[in-house]
């Protein structure tokens, strides 16, 4: 052989081997790997949040400067703010630690007054209690400006939003204030344990004339020393905690007539409540006590249909080692930061009850503030230094519990499994329970399989064992072609053709469930008589089903004709009304029956084909042996063929199950897509698959919803992968047993 030719073909062979091996391995690896990447998207959901120390800032030590009463940080974590007891706001650049600017604040009333207490009510909003008892609400604003070089700088402005005169009853122990466009509220805890509520209601008429109405009330409901106070962000609800562990809740919505809503003993061991704060959304209250325990509360109806609501403990959060001194709400979600007497900071998420972080600084912290975006935390330590942390806390609301177990959501009367991913407002508590969706998947699959398995298996048995071989040549491909009918077509017909028809004919459906077997039995009796006639007997050689078809059609037709009559007799003429009145179920036109038919129809060809393959591959010798022993054809099938083919049949069912679980368009179109847990066949469902299709267009990239949807895809993937693997392994065994398949 020509050496040149040999070299050339060998070279080509090597090249091909190289290309195909590398290419093939790469393709297979990438197909498998990229699917694993779905899992990768979901991983951040379960990552523990992290905090990183960004800066330690030494405070301005110029003469006359005193220790800060309050600290805060802007949303870009660029500027830290302190307000010190000498009445000065000081701004520090967090990257350099340098003092940028100071802005002094003049007292609102007596010029000699100095600040005594400061609370941060909202980002960059400080309410200052002065030594003369007056209170002012000061806001810092950052006005962005661009210099000629296009660099962004900020102009810092201080704005007094409101001021309140000193109370006549003397210097209060603690004061809170809220300022809104139409009302101003000040609450003072007086030395005699009374609460003074001063409300100013501002009414503006169409000519812009302001009318101010002042109301003052004293609240004396507390039977023990009040130790903690908080107001909601609008000043409409007041909460107090006492030294003996009682929580009080007043409604301040009616100016001048505060109403005590609840008074509950929160802690059965009469511990002192040391800190209170509202959670974003103004529904939940978080209480901390001197033992370091943290719990969240909101008013709940005690009994069904009762109008009265009482403060109830909803969530317990991770315990501190010492008394809680401050609780700070996040402005982004239901996260809260809490500080204890030892200076340890906890970050917790209320809904998921997840303990996100514990922050330990070398020096104990005694003042904290959360950045407006929840991505940073600033604290003042015992050495008078500011500590700034950046916090990476993308998905605090997700925990295994919030995904799968019952969670007590805000405004619910009891813990529940709810999927509600979004709502109009920003302070909405997202509800990411996958359980109703998994339930929906299982429910739809269950009813579909209930319909599909018997029909597909019986059909496969008939065509593989009893049907004539000529028939088989046509029926088998026909069923295989059925498998190719797009699910969007099945879904459309189920929703817009079947569902309206079924809605009118539910009793007919029930009747046909009875009529079909009865008609079948009657037909068999009739057949006994008919089969005496020779020519008819040929039907028994594999054409029975053709003879049966008219019987089925007759039975169904009879059911449809008699349906309205049955409805008249049993259901007083209107089945849906009867169902609602008698059984308390609503009839949803796109319900499980429709799904059973539609999804079942999609699955039948799959089970049918695989089961048929398994059955017809049972060696003919087995069948012959059984028949030779005098067994009837059904006995042979039941006792010999079915057991031999059972692994293949099992595999078919598994693969059909996998298809039913993952089917999207049919359920998307033919169910109401309501994520509820209800076994009723007259109700719809929302399975994992259609949930993804419904929600993913609304899910921002990288957000919690986005990742949770990927997680549901992972669940679907794992479910179907397991089912298919089981089926595949079983099939390979069978293949080994019977040679081919």
């Amino acid at each position: 052989m020509d050496k040149k030719v040999l070299r050339r073909i060998k070279g080509r062979d090597r090249l091909a081997r190289y290309v195909i091996t590398i290419g093939g391995m790469a393709i297979i690896a990438s197909v498998i790997l990229i699917l694993l990447m779905i899992g990768n998207v979901t991983l951040p959901l379960f990552q523990q949040p992290t905090a990183e120390s960004l800066a330690t800032i030494t405070l301005d030590a110029s003469p006359g400067r005193t220790a800060p009463l309050a600290v805060d940080v802007d949303e870009y974590l660029e500027t830290a703010v302190t307000f010190s007891a000498d009445g000065v706001f000081a701004f520090y650049a967090t990257n350099s630690g340098a003092l940028i600017e100071t802005i002094p604040v003049a007292p609102p009333e007596s010029p000699t007054a100095i600040p005594t207490q400061v609370t941060v009510d909202a980002p960059m909003t400080f309410s200052i209690l002065w030594s003369d008892g007056s209170l002012s609400e000061e806001q810092i604003r950052f006005v962005p400006q661009f210099d000629p070089q296009g660099q962004r700088t900020f102009l810092r402005q201080r704005l007094r939003k409101a001021s309140f005169p000193p109370p006549r009853e003397g210097m209060p122990l603690q004061s809170l204030a809220r300022v809104a466009s139409d009302r101003q509220v000040r609450v003072d805890l007086l030395a005699d344990n009374r609460l003074k509520v001063s409300q100013v209601v501002i009414e503006t008429d169409i000519f812009d004339n302001e009318e101010r109405a002042e109301h003052t009330t004293f609240l004396t409901d507390a039977n023990s020393a009040i130790t903690a106070l908080t107001l909601d962000s609008q000043g409409l609800a007041l909460y107090a905690g006492t030294a003996n562990g009682t929580l009080l809740h007043w409604n301040l919505a009616e100016a001048g007539t505060p109403k005590l809503m609840s008074k509950v003993s929160a802690l059965n061991d009469n511990q002192r409540i040391t800190a209170l704060a509202m959670i974003l959304g103004d529904i939940s209250l978080v209480a901390g006590d001197e033992q370091g325990r943290l719990s969240s509360w909101f008013p709940v109806r005690l009994e069904k249909n009762a109008t009265e609501k009482r403060l109830t403990r909803i969530h317990r959060l991770a315990k501190h080692d010492s008394a809680i001194t401050a609780i700070i709400q996040s402005r982004r979600d239901k996260t809260l930061a809490s500080l204890d007497a030892e200076g340890v900071i906890h970050l917790d998420h209320m809904t998921s009850e997840r303990h996100l972080l514990s922050l330990d600084s070398p020096q104990p912290i005694n003042q904290i503030a959360l950045a407006p975006r929840g991505n940073g935390l600033i604290g003042l330590d015992a050495h008078g230094q500011l500590q700034l942390w950046s916090i990476n806390n993308p998905h605090p609301e997700i925990s295994l519990k919030s995904l799968f177990a019952k969670v007590w959501y805000e405004s619910y009367d009891e813990p529940a499994l709810v999927w509600q991913s979004s709502s109009g407002s920003d302070d909405f508590e997202p509800k990411f329970s996958l359980t109703p969706l998994i339930f929906g998947t299982l429910k739809g699959t269950f009813y579909a399989m209930l319909f599909a398995i018997p029909i597909a298996l019986y059909g496969a048995i008939y065509i593989s064992q009893f049907g004539s071989s000529r028939l088989r040549q046509w029926v088998k491909p026909a069923v295989e072609v059925m498998a190719a009918i797009p699910s969007v077509v099945i879904g459309f017909l189920a929703a817009l053709w079947l569902a309206p028809k079924l809605e009118k004919a539910v009793p007919a459906l029930f009747l046909s469930v009875i009529f079909i077997p009865v008609a079948l039995v009657l037909a068999i009796f009739l057949w006994q008589w008919l089969r005496r006639y020779r020519p008819l007997k040929t039907v028994e050689r594999g054409y029975e089903f053709i003879a049966i078809a008219p019987v089925l059609l007759l039975a169904i037709a009879a059911a449809i004709v008699l349906g309205p009559i049955a409805e008249h007799w049993f259901f007083a003429g209107d089945f849906k009304l009867w169902l609602f009145n008698e059984a308390g179920h609503r009839y949803d036109p796109r319900n499980s029956i429709v799904i059973a038919f539609a999804l079942g129809f999609a699955v039948i060809p799959i089970i049918f084909t695989i089961a048929e393959d398994a059955l017809s591959n049972v060696p003919a010798s087995l069948k012959a042996a059984s028949l030779a022993l005098g067994a009837s054809r059904w006995q042979t099938v039941w006792r010999v063929i079915l057991p031999s083919a059972s692994p293949g049949i099992f595999a078919g069912i598994m693969i059909g199950l996998g298809r039913a679980i993952g089917e999207t368009m049919i359920v998307l179109m033919a169910t109401g897509n309501t994520p509820i847990i209800d076994l009723s066949i007259f109700n719809g469902m929302r399975p994992l698959s259609s949930n993804i299709a419904v929600e993913i267009p609304e899910a921002p990239f990288g957000g919690t919803l986005y990742r949770v949807l990927f997680l549901s895809a992972v669940i679907l993937f794992v479910l179907t992968f397991c089912l298919n693997t089981v089926a595949e392994v079983v099939r390979q065994r069978l293949r080994k047993k019977y040679g081919r398949f």
Binding site: D13, M25, I28, V31, A478, V481, T664, S689, A693, L716
Partner: protein, 528 residues
């Protein structure tokens, strides 16, 4: 008798019943689609009923059913004239009907907007044309059609200007992104060019407006059943006919004309009327692109698995995994396509290739490329499995025979094995294509839209726009059946689309199954 039961003969009949039921359900599905889909384009007669209270209703009888009280029947009329009545359908109790007629002069107008109009021609008005006969209407339509043609010429010119502007704007964006100061002069030049084009554009617009105003002088007045007059511009009328005055051949001709429109026309009335061309085109192109990816990848992977990989545990596991991938729900592939292709690769490409357009995404959003890649991923296992099976079915003797003659593995593969396996591979590919044609869920999140402004393939450079969104028959069904404002009026179009899709898919899979069965027979020679 007793023996008959004991031997389980009734059970045989029960299995037969199950098969009969399966086939009956399938037949029902096909029949429902056929009946509803095939009849849509047949011009139905118009019925004019006079009610006992003196009112008249003109429309097509859609269906009849028993009334709610159970006595007598009621008829559903498609009364059209959406702009006059606000609804398309009306139910009329048969008991209320005084008189039923089929007037020969009753006319159906298919319009660009507001659906059909049912009524009678009153008069025709156009410059130099006046009359009230159908001939006059014919003349009017002919003249209007000419005017429309000249208007379309304007449209083309305007589109060309738009394209040029967009190109210049993009260049400007690029320069601006690069450095606004350095490219000041170039940007200014571009601005001037854009300004010039804008001038031309405005001139054209004025001329087009004039032409359009002229066209709108060609109108005809019709009156509905209750005698209300409605003036309709000729440009609004797509087609008109008098069904009660047509014989079967004329109707058949109209039927064909509508079928042709279905294939080549653009959709109207939020997709519920008109043609399906963009959806058909999108589907075909999607399948084509998908095959370009999945076919070579699948075949190479299968050849590797079957011919080159060492048969061990790893290969067995891989094989099980690949078989399994074919059973993974399509929505999982869809969400993967979104996360990996669109947000992963697409956004990366944008950073790299089109940074000047950001934050407007080019590839970082759904498009036909990503949709077809997602589908390719979904169908690769199908192709792998089919190719592997086809290669595996070739008797070992053939392989040995070839090698024993001194051929290399690659030569055996190319000259003997692949040709022998080709029917099997084709079957796999066709099955994959059929699956891709019917798959909707993954497309919904990777780039299919209800109305795409432009086809992914057209005459402007670079001709193939892989970043564009596209339309798809399957999604079309979902969209018009569930998202259109008037589901009842949209139904005919849904059925037609369904029929088309079912026909395509069934045809493809029938061919695949036929091929496979034929191949099975051919291979039996190996075992004598």
């Amino acid at each position: 008798m007793n023996k008959y039961w004991r031997e389980g003969e009734p059970m045989v009949w029960a299995t037969g019943a199950a098969l009969a039921l399966t086939l009956m359900i399938a037949a029902t599905l096909i029949i429902v689609v056929m009946v509803n889909g095939l009849g849509v384009f047949w011009p139905a007669d118009l019925t004019l009923v006079t009610l006992k209270n003196g009112n008249q209703v003109l429309g097509e009888v859609v269906q009849r059913e028993a009334t709610a009280s159970g006595e007598g029947e009621r008829l559903q009329f498609k009364i059209g004239n959406r702009d006059l009545y606000g609804l398309d359908f009306a139910w009329i109790d048969e008991a209320d009907i005084e008189k039923t007629q089929k007037p020969k002069t009753a006319m159906v107008l298919e319009r660009m907007e507001h659906g059909n109009f049912y009524g009678t021609l009153q008069n025709v008005s156009a410059p130099g044309l006046n009359g009230h006969s159908p001939q006059a209407l014919k003349q009017l339509m002919a003249q209007a059609a000419e005017k429309t043609k000249s208007l379309e010429a304007f449209d083309e010119q305007i589109a060309e200007l738009n394209r040029r502007t967009a190109k210049l704007e993009h260049q400007k964006q690029k320069l601006f992104h690069d450095s606004p100061e350095k490219n000041q002069d170039a940007i200014a030049t571009l601005d001037r060019q854009i300004e010039t084009i804008r001038g031309e554009f405005e001139q054209l617009m004025t001329r087009q407006d004039a032409a359009s105003a002229e066209l709108h002088q060609y109108t005809a007045t019709f009156s509905d059943a209750s005698g209300t007059d409605k003036m309709i511009a000729a440009a609004e009328i797509v087609r008109y006919y008098q069904p009660n005055d047509m014989n079967v051949f004329e109707k058949g001709f109209l039927y064909l004309a509508r079928v042709v429109e279905l294939f080549i026309g653009e959709p109207r009335e939020s997709n519920t009327e008109g043609g399906l061309f963009p959806a058909i085109f999108g589907t075909v192109m999607l399948i084509f692109l998908m095959s370009m990816f999945s076919f070579p990848l699948g075949v190479i992977a299968a050849i590797y698995l079957r011919e080159y990989a060492k048969d061990g545990t790893v290969v067995r596991l891989v094989r099980i995994a690949v078989n399994n991938l074919a059973g993974i729900p399509s929505i999982v592939y869809g969400i993967f396509g979104l996360g990996f292709f669109v947000y992963g690769i697409g956004s990366g490409l944008d950073q790299f290739l089109f940074p000047e357009r950001l934050p407007n995404p080019t590839f970082g959003t759904g498009g036909i490329l990503w949709a077809s890649l997602t589908l390719a991923l979904l169908t690769v296992p199908v192709v792998i499995v089919a190719t592997e099976e086809a290669l595996g079915a070739i008797p070992a003797g053939i392989r040995e025979g070839s090698l024993a003659l001194g051929s290399t593995k690659f030569q055996s593969l190319v000259r003997i094995l692949l040709p022998m396996a080709s029917p099997g591979i084709m079957t796999g590919l066709i099955l994959a294509m059929a699956r891709a044609a019917g798959e909707v869920a993954p497309l919904m999140i990777t780039g299919v839209v209800k109305l795409a402004p432009a086809l992914p393939l057209d005459g402007t450079f670079p001709f193939l726009h892989l970043d564009r969104k596209f339309m798809h028959l399957g999604f079309h069904i979902y969209d018009i059946a569930f998202q259109s404002p008037n589901v009842e009026a949209a139904k005919p179009m849904v059925y037609v689309t369904t029929l088309l899709l079912v026909l395509i898919v069934l045809l493809m899979s029938s061919v695949a199954i036929y091929l496979r069965n034929k191949m099975k027979k051919r291979y039996t020679y190996g075992t004598f």
